[in-house]
Symmetry: C2
Subunit: 381 residues, 2 copies
């Protein structure tokens, strides 16, 4: 099978990921931070090492700024619900995934105001438009760094500066970009960054995290046992304990650490270069077909290796089905959990086919994909 | 090492657990329910099979009543916060873990009233006391089925009947009992049951779930992408999608399914019998020492294989440290995330040593533990 659904989750994972997980479940299977015995201490070390790896990878100041979550959606919900109160105003963009749009929409019914800044036809917002949308009660600006539909990369550095100057919290949804593009929380002036473990970081599902800038305090999404400060019914104030109640996914976190190590050792620049080469091949190949409409930015520097397209006259789901059944090529079709972005692209009715790349894809696979598309088009005539 | 910290997490896990996990991460690494391709469909099947296994194991009516979570704490937070609104009243017991007590306490600061029903000196509540505490605005009764500190088993069947008659939701925290005692949601008249995957079900960390009786609708803890109904910004209403936003932990859930299968094939009665034999040996052994005070019920039928104790004149943490370093025996010491229960037992200051058993423990291990305790006592004199 040729797997081109890496924006959903990268596949395969580096062998080191499973090896790390196997070691934990077989040899380090205790509950971290709950007991004093050595096996528990060792399990605690797994969490610590995961945090160590992540904080330095994203350029944070200290490991305690990393809150481990079960996925990016949990991180986004914690960030959004943890900082907004009724009466607050929040700004999102028309390129957001439902993991941002739905929590904001839910808060909207509970007295939080929000505005949606519209992207252009390539799916890119203007930082200036964010600035214009900031009001006296604006507390949070949430921007998807790169679109899971069109791959459009937003001018997050500019937005970060604007937010910092305006004294507004800036939340970056890095679901599609961490491990894919160079990333530094300080350069972005980000107060919070949500990320999955199982996409560009090549970790297992069930992992993710939230970078929370030191000093920022959120209302926890969940209260419960934290191992420390057991004597009080009040949730502890210290980070990350405040936000990590319940037994941690040590097995997954060990895998995530191995994934981040894989990315760090290759170097994000190297990964970016390789994926850009594949992306360029895919885009130029698709452009040869008059019947194909590709969405998102033309400029390779403004996009991720995520290509949404339609074949005119063909249903997106049907194209995906043929790619899967006839050509053994896995892509995603449908609405990609991003109705706002589809509305921006004019594809809310039709949906789109999405082919997304990872470091493990090859030029041969992309060429095979292009030949399959060509055959599907030819069959039509 | 002799591992007697199974109430924190069971260790080891059955080999089938990691074999199932390995198969998923190596061969079925796609994102479930997000795409139409076969690898994604296969990943979706993992979730379905996990739900199938769990619903029948607990005697639910249909698989959709099982909401998969990252641990029991998340399930408890979803249940408690999802059903209580300001002005509602809620009843908990003095034996609750912080994963129940802390969310309730947090809601208490937001206008939810609550009462704590006190247990007796053995850590057991009287169902009658729950009945007395029910008020006109009582919406929820939350009871820990079995204590993680003293192993005290509560009369949940009686409480369930009382709640059903009073039209009050009944939430059972089965963190210590699922897989350990026979369990049937209908027999308990439970509306919700929270459980971890990594304790009595022998699954990996990062897994758990909430049984939510059909027809009951909660406010979700998290909104986001659900794979289905992508076109709307409103969180879908259907169960379990409504509560499972974000990428699922397919690897963990495959492991959990294998764990439940292990338990189901052995039979909970058989597991209970074996653990009761070990428990009996441990309790009668500890009783021989005048210096040892054991907490919790005397009657074996009213308790779990979880034994909290102190050696008079010795600090609990010190005893745990010696057991670990000198005898290579892992127990837990401290407050066990259950300050309410410690207050009931009179051990809030001292803490306690806790030895907890699993199916994998042996009589030889228990005897070795008893010899170690004897040596520690002798050294004192």
């Amino acid at each position: 099978m040729i797997y081109l659904d890496n924006a959903a989750t990268t596949c395969p994972k580096p062998p080191a990921v499973w090896e790390a997980m196997e070691d934990v479940i077989k040899n380090k299977g205790a509950n971290p931070g709950r007991s004093g015995h050595r096996l528990s201490v060792e399990a605690g070390r797994i969490l610590w090492e995961g945090r160590e790896m992540l904080y330095s990878f994203i350029g944070a100041e200290e490991p305690e700024e990393i809150i481990l979550t079960s996925n990016a959606t949990e991180a986004l919900n914690l960030a959004i619900k943890g900082c907004l109160k009724p009466g607050d105003h929040c700004i999102i963009t028309s390129m957001e995934h439902n993991s941002v749009a739905r929590p904001v929409y839910a808060l909207g019914t509970a007295g939080v105001e929000f505005d949606i800044v519209e992207a252009d036809t390539e799916g890119i917002i203007r930082a200036e438009d964010i600035k214009k949308a900031i009001k006296d009660n604006t507390k949070l600006v949430a921007v998807s760094h790169g679109s899971n539909l069109t791959g459009s990369v937003q001018p997050v550095e500019e937005v970060g500066k604007i937010c910092r100057e305006a004294g507004v919290y800036f939340l970056v949804d890095a679901a599609q970009t961490l491990g894919v593009l160079p990333f530094n929380v300080k350069k972005l002036n980000a107060d919070m960054v949500a990320f999955p473990g199982h996409k560009g970081l090549y970790g297992p599902p069930g992992t993710g995290g939230l970078y929370l800038r030191r000093g920022l305090v959120l209302t926890p999404l969940k209260e419960g046992g934290t191992g420390g400060q057991s004597e009080t019914l009040e949730q502890p104030g210290n980070c990350p304990d405040r936000y990590e109640s319940g037994t941690a996914n040590t097995v997954g976190i060990a895998g995530l650490r191995a994934g981040v190590k894989f990315v760090a050792q290759l170097g994000v620049h190297h990964i970016e270069e390789k994926e850009k080469d594949l992306l360029s091949l895919m885009l130029s190949g698709l452009k040869r077909f008059d019947e194909v409409e590709v969405y998102g930015p033309q400029d390779l520097n403004k996009r991720l290796p995520v290509v949404a397209f339609n074949i005119r006259g063909r249903d997106a789901a049907e194209v995906g089905f043929i790619l899967d059944r006839v050509y053994d090529i896995a892509v995603r079709t449908g609405l990609h959990c991003a109705p706002l972005a589809h509305r921006t692209m004019g594809t809310l009715e039709s949906g789109a086919v999405r082919a997304s790349l990872s470091y493990y894809n090859t030029r041969e696979e992309v060429e095979c994909f292009l030949r399959a598309i060509e055959s599907i088009i030819r069959e039509m005539t």
